[in-house]
């Protein structure tokens, strides 16, 4: 043991390994009582790793040209040993990523995980959601199927809706007058290098910021208040082994569900991989019905719900739709400054906060359902109401959180 200790001392003098292990793992305090909502962060790390590893392997066989892309995906599926497994893990991983992300963020909204001093943790998380959405979009284009092509067309034409600069901006992004191989190869570069690098950086910031301010709990109790003689909070437990081993059963259950989907329902009934995407992109033939993958459906619904513009300002319905669609994500960034409540957790907040959360969750799910369906008048009307209900909980937050009656938060967990 002496040699090991002296080796560690030698290393620690040059790179503070022990200090950082203690700081972030063996001595980092986490609240002793949390619920299942607090497992999604760990699961997100697992999915991120799945995506990186399967992504690297897919990259070894994928061709990023207009002529070769679709055929190379077929090659991966049919000829490469376990290629199908890599691809289905990657595509199911994308769905899992969003599923966990939505729950992880909903947890944040419920238990006030964005409140002072956790604003930056929340902001980095919101940037991660934005990057994940970009990453998912770029990745969906790569197989160059019908839905890849036409969904990308819909999204890129949104940039074309920006007044004055729109058209040239769209051509610049596409690298052609139409969506083509030039677009595909730059999307490939962004999908495999640029966005993942940014995501890794943000995950690091997210976790460092979290470890600085300390993890929250469903009660909204500040565990730092009472400490024992060693400085460990009385309601705290070291991250390792409590949190690490505590997460293992959850990871096990997650893997069971994840691989059940990978093996038995990789296309998720057309919601994870859409049927038209099994046909190669054809720029002369639009699919009958362009629907997004399920995880974009709520936002797509908001985009479509805007059927009117502001004519006297020269704003078309399409551009206004784009603005409101962008606002639906942007509004999440400012939540820490909208919430004026004295308490963190929904458990101690007043009735209005509870109604607001139900309103938000219901409209989000309804919008998601509508986004996958073709439009008609009734659906558009419902989507418009849900869009209003999506924004109201946030827009009114400064008022109701300030004036509603809250309960007394206990001292200890």
């Amino acid at each position: 043991m002496a040699s090991k200790n002296s080796l560690m001392t030698w290393i620690d003098r040059r790179l503070p390994v022990t200090e950082n292990l203690e700081r972030h793992l063996t001595k980092h305090p986490v609240p002793s009582k949390v619920n299942f909502f607090y497992l999604f962060g760990a699961l997100l790390m697992v999915v991120f790793m799945i995506q990186v590893i399967t992504g690297i392997w897919l990259m070894m066989f994928y061709t990023n040209t207009e002529e070769g892309a679709f055929a190379s995906v077929e090659y991966i599926m049919r000829d490469v040993e376990y290629g199908w497994l890599m691809r289905y893990m990657h595509s199911t991983g994308a769905s899992a990523f969003f599923f966990l992300m939505y729950f992880h963020m909903f947890r944040g909204l419920l238990y006030g995980s964005y409140q002072k001093p956790k604003e930056l943790v929340w902001l980095f998380g919101c940037f991660l959601l934005f990057l994940l959405m970009a990453e998912g979009f770029l990745g969906y284009v790569l197989p160059w199927g019908q839905m890849s092509y036409w969904a990308a067309n819909v999204i890129l034409s949104l940039f074309g809706a920006i007044p004055f600069i729109g058209e040239s901006l769209q051509v610049w992004i596409q690298g052609d007058y139409v969506l083509s191989g030039a677009t595909l190869s730059r999307f490939f570069a962004l999908h495999v290098v640029v966005v993942p690098l940014l995501m890794i950086a943000l995950v690091v910031f997210h976790i460092f910021a979290l470890h600085e301010v300390g993890a929250g709990n469903p009660e909204g109790v500040d565990i730092e208040k009472y400490r024992d003689k060693t400085g460990m909070p009385l309601d705290g437990k070291p991250f390792h082994p409590y949190k690490t081993f505590g997460a293992l059963p959850a990871i096990g259950i997650f893997f069971i569900v994840f691989f059940a989907i990978v093996y038995y329902a990789p296309t998720g009934g057309g919601y994870f991989i859409e049927k038209p995407n099994f046909e190669e992109a054809n720029f002369l033939k639009t699919p009958e019905h362009i629907a997004p993958v399920w995880y974009y459906a709520p936002f797509y619904s908001i985009l479509r719900a805007v059927t009117f513009g502001i004519p006297f300002l020269g704003i078309t319905s399409k551009f206004l739709g784009f603005i409101i669609f962008a606002a639906s994500i942007a509004i999440l960034f400012i939540v820490p400054w909208l919430d004026r409540s004295k308490v963190q957790s929904i458990r101690y907040k007043g009735i209005f906060s509870k109604i607001a959360m139900i309103m938000f969750a219901t409209s989000f799910i309804t919008l998601g359902y509508l986004g996958t369906k073709p439009v008609n008048e009734i659906r558009t009307f419902i989507a418009q109401i849900c869009t209003v209900f999506y924004f109201l909980p946030f827009l009114l937050m400064p008022i109701y959180t300030k004036y509603e009656k809250t309960l007394e938060v206990p001292d200890r967990l």
């Binding site: 036409w150 051509v171 610049w172 992004i173 690298g175 139409v178 030039a182 033939k285 399409k318």
Partner: protein, 171 residues
């Protein structure tokens, strides 16, 4: 010193940004592939529509029937922007409409329904284009109806006529 180095630094970054950002513009090959295409109009029957590909975009060439040409002005009430730049069919040669087959809403392909009969989306349908994606309606000259998602008329690509030959891509 600080100001000088900041300015020099900013200029350097901006200078290096130019080639990297310009690389995203359409390449010379992409520009060449965007050249014009020709189409022989003599084979197109009245009421029929041909689809020609230009810059990978479907271009609809509609040979208007006499009835359709007569009907078009009566739709002025229903369309959002009735002004006709060129003639009833929005071209110099009013017998033909040349339209980009890309919905101005979100780039779907509108479908051609020339029949004058009640349709699920319009009881007084006078013929035109209907977009199955989000329900936008256009008349036979590609003018957009009021109160549909599409903000503007279907685009008319630059084109010219040389006798019976249509040239798409050159005005």
């Amino acid at each position: 010193m600080q100001i000088t180095s900041s300015v020099v630094g900013a200029v350097t970054v901006a200078g290096f940004a130019v080639p990297f950002l310009s690389a995203w513009q359409p390449s010379e090959r992409a520009k060449a592939l965007g050249a014009s295409v020709k189409y022989d109009l003599s084979k197109l029957e009245p009421g029929a529509m041909a689809v020609v590909e230009w810059r990978r975009t479907p271009i609809f060439i509609v040979h208007q029937t006499t009835e359709a040409i007569k009907n078009l002005p009566s739709l002025n009430q229903k369309v959002a922007n009735p002004a006709l730049e060129e003639g009833v069919s929005r071209t110099i040669n009013e017998k033909f409409s040349i339209i980009k087959g890309v919905c101005t809403h979100l780039s779907c392909a509108p479908k051609y329904y020339p029949e004058i009969e009640p349709k699920a989306w319009d009881e007084n349908w006078k013929g035109g284009f209907f977009c199955p994606c989000h329900g936008s309606k256009f008349d036979l000259a590609g003018r957009v109806y009021k109160n549909v998602p599409a903000p503007t008329n279907l685009e008319v690509p630059p084109h010219s006529f040389e006798g019976d030959t249509l040239i798409i891509g050159e005005a």
